[in-house]
Symmetry: C2
Subunit: 321 residues, 2 copies
């Protein structure tokens, strides 16, 4: 186990706070009544590039040396990390190549290109993105910006947790439960580390789509366990095959377990979030809210923080929900 | 002219700040590039009850005496003030009767009822809401909570401007232009008063839908002038017949003029705001953004604050856009 802890996150926050949107923490009476709880939603869909991934990518890139920046970057991502790396690279005038699945949402591919990155599409049924990324890293001598298995990335994502604690302090509130989406586990590792530091009695859960509950199973087994193949989900942002080598040991200490939601529950939640919170949320960004709204866990009379992690959904899909 | 000024707004803020969502001020790279300007959107659609109206109603009701509260409230509104009064009444355990047009968006009528107010529907083609309200006020001895022509309401709405200045101060930014929707003129009167106090060189505009540009015409004529009859607009929240008796004299001192947007421009803007800002905005709440996005005014290289005033739109209408 590393010595990664809350102080990594405070260091990251000091370095990048002027580059972040300080996203709001919003409560909604209708949803509170519905769940007989007090829910606080952290709106990372309002973050630059439309997801929390901006935090980690920006912090990682801010720590590169001049020489490293000149080499250019390479990253692989289903789309949100792609946009975040492309955006941060553009701000720093760095070349970026991004490897994305050819079935990624159009909005994610288009935005990544809009940020001037070179997008390399691959077939996720036949190719492995890590292999393509490692090959480009070696061949072109580019710096690989991993999506989650990097302590700087985890610390950057954790700054969302730092902001949550500041807002809760202003409200003089101590939360009971934290629900966060989980793909590779970078966001939940970073944020749960900071929240656990501030609130030692907090109970935190990773929320995953049905068929992609590798973190839930791994937490139960107390060792990294991959998903069984053959499943599909609309939650494109968080359908990673297994927990990260760095994120999982952190999550094993901070999380109490995993919660699974089904696609139909996620769709219903996206609708409720649009109608009552007035926000556009992508499927992967809505799973934590879905765990609450589908009552997968007893929240009655609890104070609950729910992560809304991103909003990059194709509008025709959003409309169809 | 009254002595209404920035200090009324600071007093209001101190009294109700713990009851507000401190809504975020968000900038978006795509929109900034599109307009070659730096735009800051104030997201009052994330406010409690889904619009800025929560501010004025909450402040007004917080100032009522115990005796007044016991009498109960009455209000007329196309829907956002209705929800705000109903919500604040419910929080204070006060009876509320709300007069709403029978063609108001379903979401607004349903939410007002959800907040336990008694809703009285009227036919806006045949009846005048002020007359119904005044009759109930007299007959039942209820306290009338006007939607805009009340200095406490104007001061309450102005607290959104107070928050904007705090966020801009944190960013060390001085804005050049302020764009705000305008129906009866309470929000623009309150917020432009505070912004003008902090930024004397700011140029502020009221934005209105085509056919309902009574404030624009009144500012030009330097006297209150009503709209010509016979027009329609999707911007249900801001189709008031003429400027307020109290709001107009304020706006005459703080505003540089009016801007008109058409329904189709508003529809396009709602789509852009969903796709890029990840928010759900109602038509009346999107007119200021629409003035910017439709380039009704030269914003090039300017720092611009744009009010997003509400998000209470029926989801089937939202989907159809």
């Amino acid at each position: 186990m590393s010595d990664f802890n809350y102080s990594n996150i405070e260091t990251a926050y000091e370095k990048i706070k002027h580059l972040l949107v300080k996203t709001p923490l919003i409560s909604n009476d209708y949803i509170n009544q519905l769940l007989e709880a007090k829910i606080y939603f952290k709106l990372e869909n309002l973050q630059k590039t439309g997801s929390f991934k901006h935090r980690g990518a920006t912090y990682k890139i801010s720590k590169l040396s001049k020489e490293q920046k000149l080499k250019g970057l390479v990253a692989y991502s289903s789309g949100n990390h792609a946009q975040a790396v492309a955006y941060a690279a553009l701000q720093n005038n760095i070349s970026a190549k991004i490897i994305m699945p050819n079935n990624a949402p159009k909005i994610k591919i288009e935005n990544t290109r809009k940020y001037k990155a070179e997008v390399i599409l691959y077939d996720p049924q036949k190719e492995i993105r890590e292999e393509i990324g490692n090959e480009i890293e070696k061949k072109e001598n580019r710096i690989l910006i991993k999506p989650y298995d990097d302590y700087d990335i985890i610390a950057g994502q954790g700054t969302a947790g730092y902001e949550i604690t500041k807002d809760l302090e202003n409200l003089s509130i101590t939360p009971d439960i934290y629900l966060c989406c989980c793909g590779g586990g970078g966001l939940v590792a970073g944020t749960s580390t900071y929240l656990k530091y501030k609130y030692p009695n907090l109970t935190s859960y990773a929320v995953e789509p049905y068929g992609f509950d590798d973190t839930k199973i791994s937490l139960f087994n107390k060792k990294i366990t991959a998903n069984k193949p053959g499943f599909q989900s609309i939650c494109d942002a968080i359908i990673t095959p297994q927990p990260g080598q760095l994120t999982f040991p952190i999550n094993l200490t901070t999380l109490s377990g995993g919660i699974v939601v089904e696609d139909q529950e996620v769709k219903n939640s996206i609708k409720i979030l649009a109608e009552h919170l007035k926000i556009v949320v992508e499927p992967g960004g809505a799973v934590a809210a879905s765990a609450a709204l589908s009552k997968k866990i007893d929240l009655k009379n609890k104070i609950v923080v729910v992560m809304i992690s991103g909003g990059n959904i194709d509008l025709d899909i959003f409309r169809s929900l």
